[in-house]
Symmetry: C2
Subunit: 338 residues, 2 copies
C-alpha cells in the first residue's frame, strides 16, 4: 500500500485501512442520552460490579476491547498490537487491559485526543505492514477523572457553567489493511496550541484553537474543502468551545455549514443540562466515533466524517503551578469503504 | 524501504533508519557517575534555575530535545513529529516541551519503557514515509517521581535495599530514513507481563520477566543468537532485577555471556550505593541509550546493541488498591551504520 505524507502533518492511505470490529460502552447517564442505541453495552451503575471506580473504568475499557475483537471474529492472540490510553494517572486502566488481553502494547497519552492518536498509529501499523490486526482503545469515567482533576463528585462542589463533565464511556476498534464498511483514508497529526488560558474549568476554550488549527491544516494539506465531509466533529469542546471554534473558522476564512459541525461531547448527552457546557474525556470521541459515527457511515447514512479528538494537556499540578493549558487535536478521516 | 513483520512482535527495516542527532542531559548525581563524559549537559543542581521540580524536568527534557535537533543541523520546524513521554501525571513535561517546540506531537506512556516505545514508532514513521524527521524524547527527575510515586526525598523516609532511585536525566534523538553512524535495524514490541508482585518498591523484580520475555521473543523472531549482539541492555532493572533476569534466561535455555548483559540504571551510577539496587526512570534508558551507547556504536567500539527499556505500569492508586505490578519492555536493535 502507498502511504504518502502531504505537507508536514497529513498522511494519506491509498489502499484500504478498514475498521473490522468496533465497540462502545458507557455508564448510566450516557445510556439515557440520544446515542443509547449505538452502545454495545450500557453499565447500569457507576461501580460496574467493581470495588473501586478505577477498577470499574478498567472493566469498561476491557469490555469494549473484547467486544470489538469478537465483532471482528478474532481472538486477542490474533491482535498484534494494542494502542490504548485514558485519563487516570499512569493510564492504569489501559495497562491492566493490555495485561489481561496479553496483546503487545503501546500506551498513549494525549488527554481526550488519545483515541484518534491511537487510531492514527494503528492505521500506520497495518498500512506499513508491521502488524496485521491492531486494537485501539480509550476510556474515561466521571468518578475517576473528576476526583483526580477537580473534586470527587460526592462533594457536590459547584462548577461554573462553562465547565464540562467527564463522560463515563469507552470505545475500541480493530484495524486491518483490508476493505471494510468504514475505512481510514487520511490522518492529520495535531500540534500543540496554547492560548494562555489558565482556568482549568475552561477546557473547551483551551481546546478550540487546537481543533480549528488541525481542521485548517487538514483541509489545506489534503486539498479538500469542508464540503468534502458530511461531518467535521470535535471530540469534546462543549457549547463554549464549539462557539469559539466557529469564530476561529470565520477568522481563518473557512466556511463550514452549521449542520456539518458537531461535537462528540454534545452529541453524547443531547440537550441535557446536567453536563454543563458538554461532556469531555477520552471516552467521548472513542465511544461516539466507534459507536454512533461508525454506524452512520457503515449504514450509508453519511459517507465521510473528519473526527478530530481534542485534548487538554494540563494536570492538577501544572495548573497549581500557574501554567497555562496546552491543547492538541488529531484528525482522522473516516469514510465509507468502496 | 521494505518494512517486514517477523512473527507477531518484531519489525525489520531493510533500509537505513538513522539516528541523525541525539543528546543526553542529567542532574548533579548522574553527572558524578562513570558516564559523565557522554552527557551534553550536566545540570549542577536539581532545580535547574526553575521554581519547581516539575518545571526543572520540563527544562531538562526541552534542553535535550533542542540539542538533539541542533546536532542534526535542523530547526524544530523541520521536525514533522515528536514522540515523547515521562513519569509525571499527564506527562506534562513532554506536553509543554511539544508546545514550546511547536512540533506535531504524540504523547506516550509506557513508564520507563517510553523512550524505546518512542524510538520504535519514530522509526516506523520515517521508514513508512509519513514523516521525514521525527524527534523522540523522554525524561525523569528524582524529585518529581519520588514525590509522586513514593515520598518527597526531603522526608528522608527509609527505602528497602531492593528499591531503586529515579534518575534525573533526559535523552532525545532525531530519526530519519537516511544512513547514519547508528541505525535502527529491528524492533520488538513488548507485551505486558505480570508475576503478581505487589510491593511497589520491588520494581526490578516486577520488570525482569518482561525484559526476559521480550529478549527471548526478539531473538526467536529475528532469528539471531545472543552472540549477534555486543550488548543486551535492560532499562532499569537494577541489581535485583538483573539477577532475576539471569535466572529467567537460564530457565528459558538462553545463554548470554555475563559481559554482554547490562542495565542502564546500573551503568549510570557505577558502584554508587546511594541508589539502592540501581537507577530507574524514563530518563535512564533515554540518556544512556542516546548518550553513552550512541557514542560507543558511532565510534566503532561496539557494533550492535539490543536496548530493551523496561517499564512498571503501576500507579500509587493501583498499588493502594492492591493491584499487582504489570511490566513491559520494548526492544530496539541499534547497530553501526554501513
Amino acid at each position: 500500500m502507498q502511504i504518502t505524507q502531504k505537507g508536514r502533518q497529513t498522511w494519506l492511505f491509498d489502499g484500504p485501512v478498514g475498521i473490522i470490529g468496533q465497540a462502545a460502552t458507557c455508564g448510566p447517564r450516557e445510556g439515557e442520552g440520544p446515542l443509547a442505541a449505538d452502545f454495545d453495552h450500557i453499565f447500569p451503575d457507576l461501580r460496574m460490579g467493581e470495588v473501586s471506580f478505577e477498577k470499574a473504568e478498567q472493566r469498561m475499557e476491557e469490555y469494549a476491547a473484547r467486544r470489538a475483537i469478537a465483532k471482528a471474529s478474532l481472538t486477542p492472540d490474533e491482535i498484534d498490537i494494542m494502542f490504548a490510553g485514558d485519563l487516570i494517572n499512569q493510564i492504569t486502566p489501559s495497562g491492566f487491559t493490555a495485561r489481561n488481553l496479553a496483546i503487545p502494547y503501546f500506551g498513549l497519552f494525549n488527554a481526550c485526543a488519545t483515541a484518534m492518536e491511537g487510531l492514527a498509529l494503528a492505521a500506520l501499523c497495518v498500512a506499513s505492514g508491521v502488524a496485521r490486526k491492531v486494537l485501539v482503545a480509550a476510556s474515561s469515567h466521571t468518578c475517576t477523572a473528576e476526583r483526580q482533576f477537580r473534586y470527587p463528585n460526592e462533594y457536590g462542589s459547584q462548577k461554573p457553567p462553562y465547565s464540562q463533565s467527564t463522560a463515563t464511556a469507552a470505545g475500541a476498534a480493530v484495524v486491518a489493511a483490508i476493505p471494510a464498511p468504514v475505512e481510514i483514508k487520511a490522518i492529520t497529526v495535531g500540534r500543540v496550541r496554547d492560548e494562555h488560558i489558565t482556568d482549568p474549568f475552561a477546557m473547551g476554550a483551551a481546546m478550540a484553537p487546537a481543533f480549528a488549527d488541525t481542521v485548517q491544516i487538514h483541509l489545506q494539506e489534503r486539498g479538500v474543502s469542508p464540503d468534502y465531509y458530511d461531518l467535521i466533529l470535535s471530540g469534546d469542546l462543549g457549547h463554549v468551545g464549539q462557539d469559539i471554534a466557529r469564530e476561529l473558522f470565520q477568522l481563518q476564512g473557512i466556511t463550514i455549514a452549521d449542520e456539518k459541525l458537531g461535537d462528540c461531547g454534545l452529541m453524547l448527552y443531547g440537550a441535557s443540562t446536567k453536563v454543563f457546557s458538554g461532556g469531555s474525556g477520552c471516552g467521548c470521541a472513542a465511544s461516539v466515533g466507534f459507536g454512533h459515527i461508525y454506524r452512520l457511515i457503515s449504514e450509508g447514512e453519511i459517507k465521510r466524517v473528519l473526527l478530530c479528538a481534542t485534548g487538554a494537556l494540563l494536570s492538577p499540578v501544572s495548573s497549581e503551578q500557574k501554567e497555562s493549558i496546552p491543547a492538541i487535536s488529531h484528525a482522522v478521516a473516516l469514510e465509507r469503504g468502496e
